[in-house]
Amino acid sequence: MSKIFALYTNEMIKLSHRLSVWILVILMVITSFSVPFLVKGALNSSNNMSEETDAFGKTDFTKRRDTVMNELGDPNRYVEHETLRFTIQNETVELFATRLHLDEDQVHDYSNLCCYNAMLANYNFDQYPIYDNWLSKEALQQYFMAYFDLCQLNLVPFGSRNSKWFQSYVSATEILDLSKDAFFYHDYPSYLAIVEKTDNSTNQLETKIVRRLSELDPEGKLNDTDAGYIQEAVRMYETYSQNLAMGVDTVNGSYVPLTESRREQLENSILILDYQLTHGCLTSKETSTAMLGRQYSQRAGRFLLIIMLVIIAGSSISLEMATGSIKSLIIAPVKRWKIFTAKLLSIMTWALAGSILITAVSTLATGIALGFSSLSPYYYVSGGTVQSMPDYLFTLLFFLADNISLFIYLLAAFTISCLTRNTGISVGISTGLVLTGGISSTLTELFGQKRWIDFLPFSNMNLVSKIFPYYKLSGYLDAEDAGLFGITNNSLPLSFSLWYLAILVFILLLIAYDGFVRRDIQ
């Protein structure tokens, strides 16, 4: 043991004297530090642009109206009026109706033009700014759609209008009235009524989502992004509840029976979502920007770290063989497997130190650039109640879990280095392995239904999503987007993946043992 420690100390000295290592470390810190500022800059410039053009403001809509009017001219010249009579359930109904003399292409412009005119005449842009308000935007869309639907019904010649047309017409008018209320008076109940009427999703999912939204935000003050997060949370909440009730699980778009571990995951997810919805601690516009900046900063830093470590691992044996410095290790009274172990340990130390460094740098940079308070915590379930941990702590644990997968890659690089004894080849192959990890998601898309895919390394590499199954609920990126190893595949339990990786490590160690310990050193 003392020999291994002595060898380990030596390895650390050697690594700390390598210029290339320090260059990469500095590059890593600079990149990781600058990304949150870049995100902030990009955000500011996109905000400025939309303010300049006054999107969804009065000027904007005037411009839009003028464009359409240039093409169509006066809308009233397409309109013909008549009073229609229908007999519905033995009662005669009289209707003052209009007919539009338009072709199919013109009708869209016409309905838009009418809506623009109405808006410009009546809408209170100061009281209800449309830009970045979810309800206003949604109601606006509903209003335009309802008007368009009604216009289409008005294309039908007077003679061909029957009772079926009449029913459609009545319902379209109702929806138009509701959408007017929703849009012009910023009225949530009217908007909800439209959704209820038009919802044809399974189990009225859309209605449930909007109802929940209206309960949480009765005055309709939320911006698009925040409303989007609430919608997404409610959608997950409802879907999970439904899956639990039916005992099924959705994997890659198809239904499979729910396993016991997945059942627990879903139940816990529901607890977390409910907690986040009721306590108002869902990801928001502010936190999501910070989290994005933070995670891209980590990702960039981590990418460089992985490249650095792969270079170290891939060259650790071969470089010493090339320069001949391996001799002083072989001559020393230490068994070769100890040399091997010490080298691996030293590389893992750098991986660990690098992870801590990146976490620190990215937390600091994100805090300075986007505000420390906007880093949202990680929510998890312990003992049936929802708990949270600070985000820097979670990030660190997140990296540690991913370092297990990183270890496999480094061991592979190390093994190849032992086998080929050629730095160029081993670093090349190992870097290739890391980079082609990206095609794994394509493979899943192609063969996602096949069971053999579970036995491929990348299906088991993503320990992060198995150890922390709820990280996405706290605003963290998907494994693929976060630049982690492997793909998110929750259908395999953690224990399976751990066993799989243990066997993989064993095989790699056997090969490396044969390549370095048993073979002669020339």
């Binding site: 390598r18 001799k327 001559i331 020339q522």
Partner: protein
Amino acid sequence: MAESAVKPALQIQKVTKTFGRKTAVDNVSFDLYPGEVFGFLGPNGAGKTTIIKMVMGFFRPNEGTIIINGYNRKTDYEAAMSSIGGIVENPEMYNSLSARLNLKMYARLHKGVTEERINEVLELVGLLDRADDPIKKYSLGMKQRIGLAQAMLHRPKVLILDEPTNGLDPAGIHLLRDILKKLAHEEGVAVMVSSHLLSEMQLMCDRIGIINHGKLLRICSIEDLMHQAENSSVYRIKTSNPSKAKEVLSEKYPNRISNVEADTLDIEIEESQINECVRTLVSSGSDILGVQKLESSLEDVFLEITGGGTKIE
């Protein structure tokens, strides 16, 4: 030195190493005793380095046993290896690190090497003032010296140096010789030096093992080798007609005559036969202008032992 009462520091027993079909070392056995400088002599490619690499742990022998300081290298690796130090081929260290740091790192792998010991060996090889320079700034000779310093750092019982004089200047060679002799004769270290230069061996070794084509051909003390050279009895006879003399002499001494020149010929005979030889020549009517005993060089002996086929530099 090589008394049977003394326990050998290094025992090589029936060691064979093959690379593919080629047998690089063929059933080699010898012992190395404390307090002696053993020269391992052989032409290029004879198997010297292969044997050294097997002793130093680079190669595994296909057959045979290596025992260092009483420990079997195979079963007691670390104990055996802690008694050995050396340089294989060129001394190569971590070039970007200083000599001192290199030594410190090496010392960490051995027991009981102190800071003072590091300074001591650095001073011994004359590099104390350059110890904090990175190795990449060293000349080949300086690298040899620092290699030697590393090899003897942990006071090994067996010191093995592969072609240690490579790249050394005459002063360096002299210093090396003194260090090795001192280590062997005063501190009782068993030193093994390989070389293809006999003249070098002559000056520093007590015993010599001659190897060629993977086989150990002879082990003898340097005195024995010199004695053999001195005892060689080739006489150069100066005569007016060497070809006639050759005819006359070859009847009596077949296959003893060589190097027939314009007025000389060489003949290998015992000292007691000279009289008879001269008398035969005189009676055949040849003029004897002179008889001279030729000194045989060590090179000749070496060529004779290794079969003469391989040229010695």
